[in-house]
């Protein structure tokens, strides 16, 4: 389209090798030099497939079947094997998602850059090329650093090496595939600065692939939203985030929690995305779309220009013209649970909890070392309230949850539950105490025994804690499944047939079956897509309201924490650095570390859809939360 485009992609399609099943199809976009295009979508939408196809690479079992990828007038997809080898890394380079696995473990990091210079016979002084790339990725150019092996680098450093690798042959286009996923928020923020500097200083076009709309919002100029293997909406990032024209983009933005403002109801997207071989003939999003009409099922909508000037912004939807303003999510009303919380007695009191893990003995003569994960944590939680524990990896937040659940024996300190001291391990606790404390884990795929049916999984705590007849149990299982918005008919199915979100709902139903007073949620949404996360968060909120359930909500994600908690504890390296009511913590953080964390968050911007600022005027929520949440600590 544009003559300035460094990278032009037209009608790109990738399919399952030797079959007509398309994984992605009809993908077209342009990226100019010194700009970045964000490719965003949920897992399974085909964004990584597109990223690799830009280098003419199809993962094993897949092949790039159609289309053109043009850089400097050359169609990369038309090149032969040798031509591709010469192009990859030299003309278009790639930054992988998981550098700890993508760097060769047995080779020093600088050697992994040097072999590229050699293989591509890049003109110029190899040492200078190496230094330029190394410094471009803001790594220290010292011989000590250059000689390190990947395992001797931190996660952030590994990713910088991967970026240096992408720079070293001075390519025209850099494809970054989830380059900050899995990094702590502060490390991520620093890395995003590196990427921002690159864009300013180097003459490259960047394709930035991510599932994280907050990051995309802040690092790219143009965005392409993918769903079901196609780009459903693409255009300038500001316009799309302020006023998305595709129902999917809207629903995605409605699902995003924010750290900087209070949001209204987070709304997930019902259903789940379909596998490439089960996609409908029409719009891939139609089965989950609230605005669906018959035509959506039957016919694939074409890419239509919207907005001014024309040609900049495209939407693939039959109904983009008549988006339903009334369907916007509700603003939030003061929650009844929060009201009762203030007067409630303390349910859980933890004082000076110290916990650690024994390390492995390294050799004869060296004694076992204890790595302290939690160093003197004290906190309290009243019945029906939600206390969030935030921290980066290694902060001790999961250890705290495991100690409370009776899965890990603390070294010292006291836990009191309903005023009574709590035994360290679950099996030494009285049955009624065990029943009243339940836990839900991070990874839904491993939370459910794959060899049991959903019904048996939910039934087990009933059998253990209550004396019910068989028919009563069955009725209760059905009731519990309905409470987590699953069909009771699901009881007979095995976990493998469920989506991640559904599995997490079953895990919640299993915890609820015990009728707990305290629910420990250990990173329960971090393995889920944002749309699914929203619906789980809303479910938890609803359960608190209905059952006056107290919650210890462990998370690394400040935005998620803001959306659900009453009070927040910030953990760093096993120590509590700040403990405050939600509103105070987010609006007036006291500890420098909390401020650093908050500054590192990449939120949507003020004024972005669904315009929470307009929907939540006057900060009435804030007043409410300050009176309720800020019990003096």
């Amino acid at each position: 389209m544009s003559d300035l485009a460094e990278l032009t992609v037209r009608d790109l399609g990738v399919s399952v090798s030797g079959s007509a099943v398309d994984i992605v199809s009809e993908v077209s976009f342009d990226v100019e030099a010194r700009t970045a295009l964000g490719v965003v979508g949920e897992s399974g939408c085909g964004k990584t497939t597109v990223a690799m196809a830009l280098l003419g690479y199809g993962r094993p079992g897949t092949e790039v079947s159609t289309g053109k990828v043009i850089v400097e007038g050359t169609n990369i997809l038309a090149l032969d094997r040798q031509g591709l080898t010469r192009t990859r890394g030299r003309v278009v380079s790639y930054v992988p998602q998981n550098p700890s696995r993508a760097l060769s473990p047995g080779m020093q990091v600088a050697a992994q850059l040097q072999e590229m210079i050699t293989a591509h016979s890049v003109p110029g002084d190899p040492t200078e090329l190496l230094r330029s790339a190394w410094e471009g990725a803001q790594l220290q150019f010292t011989s000590e650093m250059l000689r390190r092996y990947p395992h001797q680098l931190s996660g952030g450093q590994q990713q910088r090496v991967a970026i240096a690798m992408a720079l070293v042959c001075e390519p025209k286009v850099i494809v970054m595939d989830e380059p900050t996923t899995g990094l702590d928020v502060i490390t991520q923020a620093r890395l995003l600065e590196v990427i921002a500097d690159l864009r300013k200083q180097r003459d490259v076009a960047i394709v930035y692939v991510s599932h994280d709309l907050g990051v995309i919002r802040n690092v790219v100029d143009h965005v392409a939203v993918m769903y079901g293997g196609r780009i459903v909406e693409a255009g300038p990032v500001d316009e799309i985030f302020r006023d998305p024209r595709h129902p999917y983009t809207r629903r995605l933005l409605e699902a995003i929690p924010r750290a900087q403002i209070d949001t209204g109801e987070l709304r997930g997207i019902p259903g789940s995305s379909v596998e490439p071989w089960n996609r409908p003939p029409g719009c891939p999003f139609a089965p989950r779309c609230a605005m669906r009409i018959d035509r959506c099922d039957a016919e694939m909508p074409p890419e239509e220009p919207v907005g001014e000037p024309a040609g900049n912004w495209h939407v693939r939807c039959w109904r983009s013209g008549d988006l339903d303003e009334a369907a916007k999510p509700r603003r939030r009303t003061a929650s009844a649970a929060a009201v009762t919380a203030a007067a409630a007695p303390e349910l859980l009191e933890v004082s000076d909890l110290v916990a650690g893990y024994r390390g492995r003995r390294q050799g004869i003569g060296s004694s076992r070392v204890t790595n302290v994960a939690l160093n003197g944590a004290s906190l309290s939680l009243s019945a029906g309230s939600c206390l969030a524990v935030v921290g980066e990896s290694g902060s001790g937040k999961t250890t705290l949850g495991r100690c409370l659940a009776g899965l890990h024996r603390p070294i010292s300190g006291e836990i009191r539950f309903s005023g009574e001291p709590l035994a360290p391990l679950a099996r030494t606790r009285p049955p009624d105490v065990r029943r009243r404390i339940q836990i839900v884990f991070q990874d839904p795929d491993s939370s459910l025994n794959p060899m049991m049916s959903i019904g048996a999984i939910v039934r087990r705590p009933l059998r253990q804690f209550f004396e019910l007849s068989r028919s009563e149990e069955t009725a209760r299982v059905a009731e519990l499944l309905e409470q987590v918005h699953l069909s009771p008919a699901m009881a007979s199915r095995p976990p493998r047939e469920l989506s991640g979100g559904e599995k997490q709902r079953v895990a919640i139903a299993r915890a609820l079956a015990a009728e707990p007073d305290l629910l420990i949620c250990d990173e329960v949404t971090s393995a889920l897509d944002v749309a699914v996360q929203a619906s789980i968060l809303e479910l938890l909120r609803e359960l608190r309201l209905v059952r006056s359930l107290a919650m210890l909500f462990i998370s690394h994600d400040l935005a998620v924490v803001r959306s659900i908690s009453d009070r927040v504890i910030v953990l760093r390296a096993g120590e509590i650095v700040e403990s405050a009511g939600r509103a105070q913590l987010f609006d007036e953080p006291r500890a420098p570390y909390t401020r650093e964390l908050l500054d590192a968050v990449h939120d949507l911007r003020p004024g972005d859809y669904p315009h929470w600022e307009d929907a939540l005027p006057g900060g009435s929520d804030r007043v409410l939360h300050e009176t309720l949440g800020d019990v003096p600590s």
Partner: protein
């Protein structure tokens, strides 16, 4: 690094010591004790003769004392007296051990490169007819008892097509061909399959995908990224093969009448010659432990992560 290697060495020694105790205690159960073997049934019926013999060789002392004596003797390569042969065990074992060592060394020296080659070729041609054929071939070979393979080879190459002797009484090269071949065929399949797994894992790794996306030419990827990173599984296969080495030696030596320690072990078991059984089992267990030690140390040397941790 020295400390880790040192730790491994000590663990190996402790295992060897514990194994020696187990061997000694087990054989102490031998009904009618060693005197029977020496004196024969009639002789053993005479209490005076038995008593005299026991006193002569110190067999009437407590188990712990005798074990202590045996271990301190074994350290000086004195394994006691063979009653069946009426000679010191070490005299009997010496030449036999040398012959077995030659057989073992030859078999390993041939087996390892062959297994590396077969495994690597199989992996690099994954899914092809070559791979499929090699996979089935190694599987079938691994399933066959070595004496069946040996008998097949003897039938083919000693009788149908008389190239090599069916009985290997000497160390002449021709006499060694068949025993070595049987050992190689017995050990190679497992190692080759492990090598294949290692190479396939490396080929499927993210770093090899990354190497492709970096635009490295294919030969460079194989040499620089696939092979170095799949060497460790191959080394570990060697350690696992070590578990089957002593058994392989025993059967093959028996089949070919090769006068090594394997055949000697079977003869000693038949004649209930305690001192010899003790010595030979200890040597065979030691072979296993040493092979494991070598593979452990090689793994540490070849893995930068382990190597640097060991240094730091």
């Amino acid at each position: 690094m020295l400390r880790i290697v040192g730790t491994r060495l000590v663990v190996g020694l402790v295992t060897l010591l514990a194994a020696s105790a187990l061997i000694f205690i087990t054989l102490d159960f031998l009904p009618g004790d060693a005197a029977t073997a020496y004196l024969g049934r009639e002789g053993a019926a005479d209490p005076a003769a038995v008593k005299q013999l026991q006193e002569e060789y110190g067999l009437d002392r407590p188990l712990v004392v005798r074990y202590g004596d045996w271990v301190s003797g074994a350290v000086q390569l004195d394994f006691g007296h063979s009653f069946a042969n009426d000679l010191p065990v070490s005299t009997l074992i010496g030449p036999r051990l040398r012959r077995t060592a030659i057989l073992l060394a030859l078999a390993l020296a041939i087996m390892f490169p062959v297994a590396l080659l077969v495994g690597t070729v199989s992996a690099l041609r994954r899914g092809s007819a070559v791979d499929g054929g090699l996979q089935v071939f190694t599987l079938v070979l691994a399933s066959l008892p070595s004496f069946v393979v040996g008998i097949g080879l003897i039938l083919m190459f000693s009788f149908v097509w008389p190239l090599f002797p069916a009985v290997s009484l000497t160390l002449a090269p021709a006499a060694l061909v068949l025993p070595v071949t049987v050992l190689v065929l017995g050990w190679m399949p497992f190692t080759a399959r492990m090598v294949r797994t290692g190479v396939v894992n490396a080929m499927d790794s993210d770093y090899v995908q990354m190497a492709r996306l970096k635009g490295l030419p294919e030969p460079r990827i194989v040499q620089g990224h696939i092979l170095p990173n799949s060497l460790v599984p191959a080394i570990q296969a060697f350690a696992l093969t070590a578990a089957s080495m002593p058994a392989g030696i025993v059967i093959v030596e028996y089949l070919f009448g090769f006068q090594g320690i394997g055949v000697f072990l079977i003869d000693s078991v038949r004649s209930r010659d305690t001192a010899t059984v003790e010595a030979v089992t200890l040597i065979l267990v030691a072979i296993y432990i040493v092979a494991n030690l070598i593979s452990d140390i090689a793994t540490i040397m070849l893995t930068p992560r382990l190597r640097t941790e060991a240094l730091g």
